[in-house]
Symmetry: C2
């Protein structure tokens, strides 16, 4: 029988439609990213085309020698403003309300983090030391963007593949600093605050303890982080990565924790890549705002939403999702999937 599951963290109900369940191996792949070249002359993010992006904001220098087929570059990670930004970095912040028309000027920051000089090396294919540098860049830019007094919140995300909404193949993440707090983020924080008032505990810490106790939805663990399929997973192979320690703001993450997070992220992305033939996905960082440092009732986490199914009218019309797989089954599949290519 199908069942509905409630997600305490997000306040969302999900229909787990087990009768429609597909087995993990029934999800077909789509793109042939494995065949991409290491360098594309027309790609604005490939080495040699640095002048095609707006002026660089941040870089991590390259230490290793380039691989065959990749031109030499002096950077490993590079951050630039988005050439087609959703928000204007120069704009002044103002609000106005006229009748039922409330608006805020589009002041904000929109940056692109180019994660590697190599066109065909998505996060799952980076080395541990390379993905640690990517996480450092995430941290540095999240820090820089949230220092801007116009910015109320920063959303860090990564679109992998066409179904996940990417238009450029070259591996990159984005950060958008918005002049308003997204109501969805505020809503989740309010949920967590009520839970804290009722129980004296951080909601996310409680959820993680439940997962560690149940074990059946766990996918992988590291020294500082735990990866699991949420009890009310929105989609097949939906994943959350929670810190073991209560870290309210992403900026309170210590360097060794950040490196450990990057390695665990790489591990689970490799399981998706090799076990499910490189599915499209969105990666998002769910973090309370900068001023949340020290907050007791909520902490940051990362979410990976594979895009193997479509959001259709039911999802848009109700805000609920239908998940055709059992979270426990997805977790077992990923636990058993090696993080290395099949030999």
């Amino acid at each position: 029988m199908p069942e509905l599951r409630y997600n305490f963290v997000t306040g969302e109900w999900v229909i787990i439609a087990t009768e429609r369940a597909k087995r993990p191996e029934d999800f077909a792949p789509h793109t042939a990213r494995a065949q991409l070249p290491a360098h594309v002359a027309t790609c604005p993010f490939c080495p040699g085309n640095e002048q095609q992006t707006p002026p660089e904001l941040f870089r991590i220098p390259r230490r290793a020698a380039p691989r065959p087929g990749v031109p030499a570059s002096d950077w490993q990670v590079r951050v630039v403003p988005n050439k087609f930004p959703a928000l204007d970095a120069q704009a002044e912040l103002f609000r106005s309300t006229e009748g039922l028309k409330r608006r805020v000027s589009g002041a904000g920051l929109h940056e692109v983090i180019i994660e590697t000089p190599e066109h065909n090396r998505t996060l799952a294919l980076l080395s541990e030391s390379e993905i640690e540098l990517v996480a450092q860049a995430y941290y540095q830019r999240y820090d820089a963007i949230t220092r801007d007094p116009r910015i109320a919140h920063a959303t860090l995300f990564r679109n992998h593949g066409e179904r996940a909404g990417t238009s450029l193949e070259h591996p990159h993440a984005q950060i958008v600093g918005t002049p308003i707090m997204p109501p969805q983020v505020r809503g989740r924080m309010e949920n967590a605050l009520r839970f804290y008032d009722e129980t004296g505990e951080c909601l996310n810490c409680s959820v993680m303890r439940q997962e560690l106790q149940d074990r059946e939805r766990l996918v992988a663990q590291s020294e500082h982080f735990v990866a699991f399929v949420p009890y009310a997973a929105l989609t097949p192979f939906h994943l959350w990565i929670f810190p073991r320690r209560h870290i309210a703001s992403f900026l309170e993450t210590r360097p060794e924790e950040l490196a450990d997070f990057a390695r665990l992220l790489r591990l689970v992305l490799r399981k998706l890549y090799f076990g499910l033939d490189d599915p499209d996905y969105n990666l998002t960082l769910r973090a309370p705002p900068r001023e949340a440092s020290g907050l007791k009732y909520f902490h940051w986490y990362a979410g990976i939403i594979p895009r193997m199914t479509r959001m259709a009218g039911f999802e848009l019309g109700s805000g609920m999702f239908i998940n055709t797989t059992l979270p426990e089954q997805c977790a077992a599949f990923l636990r058993d999937t090696p993080a290395d290519p099949p030999s």
Copy 2:
């Protein structure tokens, strides 16, 4: 400069990124639905294959003679249970909470409304009298489903095209009766209730009055309904159809209002079909629950969300949308688009 706009009805902020704006004519079409045949021997919704669906729940008989290429059928609209239902029509309703695992049995109803016997006649291509029958079927099944005491809410929706999540080409809508009230629906009703307490007015009525006053986002009007692009439209050509009269529950809609709604829906769908080359879209009915009859602070409406752009990591990570078109410009384009094929 881009701007952020707030949607009072949904509580959502949208980034209107005018610098990235595409002109309406820049949205490319995708599918060649116009070339579909009128009858497909293997389609379970085509006449002659009635035994391939679960037993019929409702039908509206056919009066007109079939067109060339379409086998005779004795039905014009036909409603059947979904063969792969998201919820179980026979299940008992129960809830349980164990730690942070809250679940509800998957009791519910999931029906398919086959809108026409003709495989290639999507809503936009039906005659006025045909689409009126479709709206009658929507009403009848919404009524029947919400009478089930296990059902807390019914979501009526339509997925048009692959990007909108449909798997079957033959024109059809769906209704899912869920044993829980979707938190998103409840959230909107709470918003509206607060607005009512503050102003003494229905929020939706106020929004419509604003639109009628501003005029620049209006698309089409009929005796009983108004179609407009919302001030904070989520996507290019996002459309809302609001009743002029305050009708809280969909079930309070009078027959002549329902017929008028169907004709206005057809008109705007034809503008999309001919003006934008048949874009994929989701249609949803936003209605408070059955017991909301007489409610003063909220009323039902229909939404059409064209799926010309993708929901990506930013949308999933923040709950906010980026709309690359100006709502006023989209409305002007649709106002000027004839509802008939270009001659």
